[in-house]
Amino acid sequence: MDAFIELRGVRKAWNEGLPNQFWAVDGIDLDLARGCVTLLTGPSGSGKTTLLTLLGALSRPTEGRVRLAGEDVSSLPERFLTERRRHNFGFVFQQFNLIRGLSVLENVMLPAYPLAPPHGELRARALQLLRELGLEHRSEARVEWLSGGEAQRAAIARALINDPPVIIADEPTANLDTHLSMAFLAIVERLKAQGRTVILSSHDALVSEAPVVDRIVSLRDGKVVG
């Protein structure tokens, strides 16, 4: 299986050029295959989240190369990077980052707005996703009324609205109890069954021991240790 995302000698500096500059990601070579569930693990501050932003084309490396489906995206201008991100990645953030004041349905439809599909079609697709995630009855509710588990499922639906091949989730179980964490892993299994690539970051033993995870990448101080 050829690699879908390739990292070569990737480094990412924070506070670049300042006295307190440090390397959050410090020289990583990594190949991620299509359709695999990969878990990034390591203590907090080990660079998991930064690596996720690099893998998901949310940020560009300070040094090194990031290749997405064979194309070097590490020096793409912002516009084109956004375009690649839109088509390839769906994000589930740790804090979910749903837009407050809007309904669940509006939040789910949001990533598709710039693509401007027919409204009825988009709405039907969003409702379908919510139905699959058991959240259809909450579609008109404002997102701040949702429980933690519901908010996560809304965030997953939003990540899936543009049907991206890769789903990236940052600390997905950090705000959930055991029962809801299991439910999340069940969803990951379904995503995998649909042929999607899933990249998780977590230091939760429940996740690292889950059978759905194909590969575990351990990080420490911005380097891969195992």
């Binding site: 516009r79 994000f91 837009i99 407050r100 004041g101 949001l110 707005y113 401007a116 940052d170």
Partner: protein, 377 residues
């Protein structure tokens, strides 16, 4: 094209949904904004219409009015002056005017009394403007009592009430015959309030006026072009007063809009980060905010201007008329002919809509060009 429209509609969907989150605050802002446009537009429309009408009507005013000054105050012009003026080359005709003011204690208002030369009113009968008829409650055939200079009561019969449509020029006029006028004010025959000249060639008016001053140094000629200029200037002054009062309101609104638009809260920054992370381009975020600014200011501008138009031309500007027309006991009651000055409209648009859009857009632009990975931190 259809794709473009669909995209803009989604952006509008989002921006309106975002505005609807703080309904009371944003509705309040919109109301204040609309009110500001309404007030400024009312002033501009009103004074523009008035200036236009004045400029048209006063084209028929006398080309030169000659006043006599004694110790810096107006004085009566003796008939001998008229003869001297008649001899000036270029003067076609000279006419002495008899007019003055009468303070009516009954209604505490000033009337303009005139003895017109174009109509012969028989002794004891008068024609009155609609304003006088309204204030005094007088109609055709009624008898009006006025007190003469010597305290004697003079009874005058109203022979005619001037049409209401002529209010803008005749509202407070009390027209009477020359003899009645002289008896009322104790003016000896052969004396006039002032003198009007008609000049053969328009280009000679200024030269004639210069000759008048040379010939009769105690007189002051008033030219029609000066009259027209006076009207421009006076309305500019009144407009200025009202606009000055509105500056306070304008500044208050500017602070409000600035606070609302530029004070990008951490929440809003985060929101922009989220939009970018889920696949919106910087351009999409900016367009969305542009729509917000354009919709809010577009609404305020269109609604404010349309309301102002109705206020001024359908309801005769009840809010401003006292300041713009001046204060009176006897309000001349007239309605203006609707007119809109394109330049005025454009500058109103420029000064109300553009700053608002800029105030919404600039801070967002600064936030939107940052990397989207901030939402992960």
């Amino acid at each position: 094209m259809r794709h473009w429209i669909a995209r803009q509609r989604y952006l509008i969907d989002y921006t309106v949904a975002a505005l609807a989150r703080r309904k009371a605050k944003n509705a309040g802002l919109l109301a204040v904004y609309t009110a500001l446009v309404f007030l400024v537009a009312s002033v501009l429309l009103y004074s523009h219409a008035l200036k236009r009408e004045a400029a048209y009507l006063l084209q028929a005013a006398p080309e030169v009015v000659v006043q006599k000054l004694t110790a810096g105050r107006h004085d009566l012009v003796p008939a001998s002056y008229i003869e001297k003026l008649r001899d000036i080359r270029g003067v076609r005709s000279v006419e002495g005017r008899l007019w003055g003011y009468y303070f009516d204690p009954l209604v505490a208002a000033n009337f303009t009394v005139m003895a017109p030369s174009d109509r012969a009113l028989p002794a004891g009968s008068i024609a009155i403007g609609e304003g006088i008829a309204r204030t005094r409650g007088a109609a055709e055939g009624d008898v009006m009592a006025v007190r003469g200079y010597d305290g004697a009561l003079i009874l005058l019969r109203v022979a005619e009430v001037l049409p209401q449509s002529a209010n803008i020029v005749t509202s407070d006029l009390l027209l009477m015959g020359e003899t009645d006028f002289q008896a009322l004010f104790g003016i000896r025959p052969g004396h006039y309030t002032d003198v009007t000249l008609s000049v053969a060639h328009p280009r000679e008016v200024r030269k004639v006026a210069e000759k008048v001053v040379l010939l009769l140094p105690d007189t002051r000629p008033v030219l029609r072009e000066e009259v027209l200029r006076t009207y421009e200037a006076v309305f500019d002054w009144r407009e200025g007063i009202v606009l000055t009062l509105l500056v306070g309101a304008g500044l208050a609104f500017a602070i409000l809009a600035w606070e609302k638009a530029s004070g990008l809260s951490a929440d809003e920054r985060r929101e922009i980060g989220v939009l970018k992370a889920v696949g919106w381009e910087t351009g999409d975020v900016l367009k969305m905010k542009l729509w917000e600014g354009a919709l809010v200011s577009g609404f305020a501008f269109l609604a404010g201007f349309t309301l102002a138009y109705w206020h001024v031309f359908t309801f005769s500007a009840p809010l401003f008329a006292p300041v713009l027309k001046g204060w009176s006991v006897l309000y001349p009651d007239f309605s203006l002919t609707p007119a809109v000055d394109g330049l005025q409209l454009a500058s109103l648009f420029l000064f109300t809509v553009v700053p608002y859009i800029a105030a919404t857009l600039i801070p967002v632009w600064r936030a939107a060009v940052t990397d989207p990975d901030t939402v992960m931190r």
